[in-house]
């Protein structure tokens, strides 16, 4: 059960950060994951009133506030049209419609969940994470940091001409992915992200030339990615499924 003594709804990030660093406090995004945990702390900091539910588009990038929910990925035309609905298609298969009305971008990215489908998709786009204290960090770098006391304010996605593909496999429609992969291709570069290994997603970037023979390229890439066993699937199963999904996604974006 989760227990805390105080519930605050700060109006801005400065107020939120002051409480986060001066008390034994936790940030609340959608609360969907936090609520399931067994822990006690002093103060819950709900960001609902911190004006972080914005989605903005400029010539070069898209900004998505930390309190934007996964439903908005389907409802908002700026995100739902991006790369032919790439992010919309990923998020609309996460849990249920009513849960997606709660689950936030900040609550998905900040804890670096290994199973996250959204993180895998964002990794192959040029995504930056904006933290209140630690500033702007590329998503792939953020995933390797140990930052704990900070607040995710927004993410930005650079608009680039990319061909993209996302694939995953689940035991049932309503479960976590057993493996998820995303691929993007620019003029001469290919990015591949593999998540739900079950550990946190990894990103590999290669020249387009590397994929002249896709079968050979995939064999060599698989040797570099670490998979493990968990309740859902074995390491070997993950490896085999990843191979098939990667080939499909690469053929989609390259040929």
């Amino acid at each position: 059960m989760i227990y805390f003594k105080e519930y605050l709804k700060p109006k801005n990030l400065q107020e939120a950060y002051e409480v986060l660093t001066s008390k034994n406090a936790k940030i609340i995004g959608g609360a969907t994951f936090l609520k399931l945990s067994n822990q006690s702390f002093e103060t819950a900091i709900d960001l609902i009133d911190a004006k972080l539910d914005f989605i903005r588009e400029s010539e070069n990038e898209i900004e998505i506030g930390a309190m934007v929910t996964l439903s908005e990925f389907g409802d908002n035309p700026i995100i739902s049209n991006l790369y032919n609905g790439f992010l919309k298609n990923i998020t609309e298969n996460i849990l249920s419609f009513q849960m997606r009305n709660l689950i936030t971008v900040g609550g998905t990215i900040f804890p670096k969940f290994g199973f996250s489908d959204l993180i895998t998709g964002l990794l192959v786009l040029e995504t930056e994470v904006h933290l209140y204290k630690n500033g702007k960090i590329r998503l792939e770098d953020f995933l390797n940091t140990k930052i704990q006391k900070d607040i995710l304010e927004k993410i930005t996605i650079k608009k680039k001409p990319l061909a993209v593909s996302f694939k995953n496999i689940k035991n049932s429609e309503y479960d976590f992915s057993i493996i998820n992969i995303a691929v993007s291709k620019s003029e001469n570069e290919v990015k591949i992200a593999v998540g739900a290994r079950p550990a946190m997603a990894v990103l590999i970037t290669k020249d387009l030339n590397f994929f002249e023979d896709i079968d050979k390229a995939v064999e060599s890439l698989l040797n570099k990615i670490k998979f493990s066993d968990d309740l859902r699937a074995s390491k070997i199963y993950r490896q085999k499924v990843c191979k098939a999904l990667l080939k499909r996604a690469l053929r989609e974006v390259i040929q």
């Binding site: 805390f4 519930y7 609340i28 419609f97 009513q98 009305n101 429609e173």
Partner: protein
């Protein structure tokens, strides 16, 4: 702490523990249609509208609802019409899942969903142990005026 929320257009004020869950507070206030199933956000039984959007009330702290509007099945005009269709189609067996299903389906009608496949996808989070869903889908087809 004391919170003030509007439930079905009625202003309610109540003292809560800061970590209390919305589902429990709504039941304390007498809204017994809001029921606990899985308690993890998976079954949809506890669904309410939060400022007009469906959410699982088991997954939200009640303190978040301070100053917001909640609608339960008791406050939905169209609920009776859909409940009647559920019962005519044999889709109301133990009835435990009905409030959540009704709330979501009425919401789908409001946003103009008329495609059964779209409705099924949107209702994936409303689990039912009794009906096998076919009878629910017949009732939903009639209620939404499904065109394909």
């Amino acid at each position: 702490m004391r919170i003030k929320l509007k439930v079905n257009n009625k202003t309610e004020e109540i003292d809560i523990e800061p970590h209390e869950i919305l589902l429990d507070v709504l039941r304390k206030l007498g809204y017994y249609s809001v029921r606990r199933g899985c308690d993890t956000g998976m079954c949809g039984i506890c669904t309410v509208l939060f400022d007009g959007k469906p959410i699982p009330s088991c997954s939200v702290f009640a303190a978040r609802a301070d100053g917001h509007e909640i609608t339960t099945v008791e406050g939905l005009e169209d609920a009776k019409a859909f409940a009647k269709l559920l019962s005519e189609e044999g889709a109301d067996q133990c009835g435990y899942c009905s409030p959540g299903l009704i709330l979501n389906t009425v919401y789908l009608k409001k946003i103009g969903v008329k495609d059964l496949n779209k409705a099924k996808i949107k209702l994936i989070g409303n689990l039912c142990r009794c009906t096998g869903y076919e009878s629910q889908h017949r009732a939903i087809t009639k209620f939404l005026g499904v065109t394909k």
